[in-house]
């Protein structure tokens, strides 16, 4: 029972991480591991405004 729960948790995490990685590679997310140096906090905003230029 316990092992099944752990397998389910790990499988769910693998799917979630794979989906996140796919979104970054496909360009649907900036994937920014930003610590805020751009003063915007979230790079999606920066990416969007740059794309418009």
């Amino acid at each position: 029972m316990e092992t099944a729960l752990v397998i389910a948790i790990v499988a769910a995490v693998v799917i979630w991480i794979s989906w996140s990685a796919y979104k970054v590679v496909a360009g649907k997310s900036s994937g920014c591991s930003c610590t805020g140096s751009c003063n915007k906090g979230d790079c999606a905003e920066l990416s969007e405004s740059n794309d418009k230029k």
Binding site: G31, T35, G36, G41
Partner: protein, 716 residues
């Protein structure tokens, strides 16, 4: 009330009518035609003034040979017909852009009677750079100080007489949008033609070294009568020293070319800077001095105070040492104040681990317990404990940024960047790279030149990003005495910058050869940062760090825990082994252990074992994963009585040299996945991302190998 006629030059014959604000219109009664070139920085209000003077109808065409717009119009004043030509907006008159060449050639070739430079007086120092170059050309000059209404509101006072003397030109305050002062501007134009000022070639002094070289070149220009007559020998000599391409291409004698090359070489050798930079420095010095003498008010006073501070901060000799000492101080503070707070959070996680472990019977094996204690607390907790150090570092950086010092850092590096074939503009994304490479690479879009941009993108990951911080904060205190903490951290950042500069130079010499364009870098005045502003900036960044720890790092920690825990060896294999041996065997048997063991021969020459090897693979997803993985590896199979911290465990397993090599490899090696993806997006090709990945990994391997092998020889 101002009265003058407007004459359009659509076909060169027709005299049309136009109205300038409240002026009435008369027939053209000009006695003499005056050609006026209207120059100015972009956004200085040049076109507004031109339109106000010439009315709504102008002739628009192109300059011969180029598709740069040429606007002409005319008006009459005091019996003179004044033909105005609106030159392209430029910041300077060097030969770097078509606009600059067009503007300069028009002034020289078209026998302009007067040049009117429209100066945005609310941004005086930057706008006066063009004026200084016009002064150098020794043309009859009128400076129209535009937007004086804004300046008045600020309470700024110009000593027009003094400034007029400094620039050897008439100065007229105007407000282009309201038509204020335009009559006086036309008066000044006519006065300049009727009563020309005595020409003074030596308005700007470029320093003894440059002046000596100018004096050597000037006599050699005597043989080139036509050019000398057209441009003036001093100006021509100056442009040759500045290596102005347009002037260099005018076909000079071999003797002159050799003399110029010798002078350029001499100046570069003696001063350490190219003549172009020396001359630009002097121009700024001249402007700064002139403004200090003749401009006063509260805002300017703040600028003046900033200038005084900058005299020290941006001093040619002191600038880089001051920058280095400041950064050292920041890192030292990060450890000094951060470590006690870190200890508190560490104790909290230890308590939490003990509490969760206590929920199961003593010695009981449980996958859920291991997942929570070893995977989540060991992994994510290992990253979260560094939050105080990181918050402190962000606090210090926010103070440096908000005070205006970080803008100076880019300015300081401008000189270095020029030497490697990039300009200071490239250092701005690099500075962003200290936070995260992803926005830094996006920030390279400000670079117009593709070669400069690609070079900058490829070297940005060498700047120590925020994700490397937990690695440094974990390893430095584990392997070095407290007094060296700040210095080792500083060294890691410096190694990153030096390698970035080295790689950029290499790329510019090989793959991306070509010239760079200089630009004017603005320096905002210093300000006292507000506590609220600094706290907001600090919290914004710290929150992103926590958010990442709670999402992506949590997920990766769970996967790494599974990869490090499964499959498990059967009980027979572990029978008879000590606790430590059993832990090592179980680790080597797991997926991560097998991958680490397979790559051990490759990383062994660097001083790494299979555990570090697996952590380095995990770090490809995000650099902090290295810390999480080490936390998981060292908490798995650990006896419950062990009260050693991760740092203590690392210190007992590896030497200081190995610790330093781990940090070095993490600093230089392949960037995280997000950086590679953004590299592909910004360069438009996976090939560049692959080149970045392979190039940096190879460089990391090479540097770490040399450091470890040489270090081992020295230490033994």
């Amino acid at each position: 009330m101002q009265e003058f006629n407007i004459v359009t030059t659509d076909n060169g014959v027709t005299a049309g009518n136009g109205v300038v604000r409240n002026g009435s219109v008369k027939r053209d009664v000009s006695k003499k035609t005056i050609t006026v070139a209207v120059a100015g920085n972009p956004n200085s209000g040049k076109t507004t003034v031109f339109n106000a003077l010439t009315g709504a109808r102008q002739h628009v065409g192109n300059y011969p040979g180029v598709t740069v717009e040429k606007k002409e119009g005319s008006c009459s004043h005091r019996g003179h017909k004044i033909n105005l030509v609106d030159l392209p907006g430029t910041y300077s008159l060097t030969a770097f852009s078509v606009e600059e060449v067009v503007a300069r050639n028009f002034i020289v070739d078209e026998h302009t009677d007067v040049v009117v430079d429209i100066v945005d007086s609310s941004n005086l120092e930057r706008n006066l750079y063009l004026a200084t170059q016009l002064v150098e050309m020794n043309v009859p000059l009128v400076l129209a100080f535009n937007m004086t209404d804004i300046v008045e509101r600020r309470g700024t006072v110009f000593d027009i007489e003094k400034l007029s003397g400094f620039f050897n030109a008439s100065i007229v305050p105007i407000v282009g949008t309201k038509g204020r002062g335009l009559g006086k501007l036309l008066d000044a134009i006519v006065d300049t033609v009727e009563n020309p000022r005595v020409k003074d070639e030596h308005t700007v002094h470029y320093g003894d070294e440059v002046e000596e070289e100018l004096d050597k070149i000037k006599p050699l220009l005597a043989s080139e009568h036509s050019l000398g007559e057209k441009y003036g020998s001093r100006w021509l000599a100056l442009k040759l020293l500045e290596q102005d391409k347009d002037i260099l291409d005018k076909g000079h004698s071999q003797e002159l070319i050799d003399a110029v090359a010798k002078s350029v070489q001499h100046l570069t050798k003696v001063t350490g800077d190219e003549p172009e930079i020396l001359v630009a420095d002097r121009r700024y010095g001249f402007i700064s001095g002139a403004c200090e003498e003749a401009v006063t008010n509260s805002v300017e006073i703040r600028h003046m105070r900033s200038d005084l501070v900058d005299k020290v901060i941006l001093n040619r000799v002191l600038a880089i040492p001051i920058f280095a000492v400041l950064m050292y101080g920041v890192f030292k503070l990060t450890f000094m104040l951060g470590d006690p707070l870190m200890g508190l959070i560490e104790s909290m996680f230890e308590w939490l681990s003990a509490f969760i472990t206590g929920l199961w019977p003593i010695g009981a094996e449980s996958a859920i317990k291991s997942l929570i204690v070893d995977g989540i607390i060991g992994g994510v907790g290992g990253v979260i404990v560094f939050v105080p150090n990181i918050m402190l570092l962000f606090f210090a950086i926010a103070i440096l940024e908000d005070s205006g010092y970080m803008a100076r850092a880019a300015f300081i590096m401008d000189r270095v960047m020029h030497k490697i074939g990039l300009h200071g503009k490239s250092f701005i994304p690099m500075l962003i790279g200290f936070g995260c490479s992803v926005p830094a690479i996006m920030g390279t879009r400000v670079l117009e030149n593709r070669r400069s941009r690609l070079t900058t993108i490829l070297v940005i990951p060498l700047m120590s990003c925020g994700a490397r911080l937990p690695i440094y904060v974990l390893l430095i205190p584990a392997f070095f005495a407290a007094k060296w903490h700040g210095l080792v951290m500083w060294l890691m950042y410096v190694i990153g910058v030096v390698l970035a500069i080295f790689c950029a130079k290499l790329l510019r010499k090989t793959l991306f050869k070509g010239e760079t364009m200089p630009f004017v870098m603005e320096l905002p005045p210093y300000r006292v940062p507000t506590l609220r502003g600094v706290l907001i900036h600090m919290w914004g960044r710290s929150w992103m760090y926590l958010k990442k720890a709670g999402t992506i790092l949590l997920g990766i920690s769970i996967i790494l825990w599974a990869a490090t825990s499964y499959p498990k060896p059967d009980e027979n294999t572990l029978a008879g082994l000590s606790a430590e041996q059993a832990q090592t065997t179980a680790l080597r048997y797991s997926i991560a252990g097998r991958v680490g063991t397979a790559m051990e021969p490759a990383v062994k020459p660097l001083g790494f074992d299979y555990r570090i090897g697996t952590a380095l693979i995990g770090a490809l997803a995000a650099k902090e994963v290295f810390v999480a993985q080490m936390g998981i590896v060292y908490s798995l199979g650990e006896s419950n009585e062990s009260s050693q911290t991760l740092r203590e465990k690392l210190a007992s397993n590896y030497s200081s040299l190995q610790g330093f090599c781990i940090m070095l490899f993490c600093l230089i090696s392949a960037p995280c996945m997000a950086t590679l993806v953004i590299c592909k997006r910004e360069t438009g090709s996976w090939l560049w991302a692959l080149f970045q990945f392979c190039g940096l990994t190879a460089l990391a391997y090479l540097v770490t190998l040399v450091v470890y092998q040489v270090g081992s020889l020295i230490i033994t």
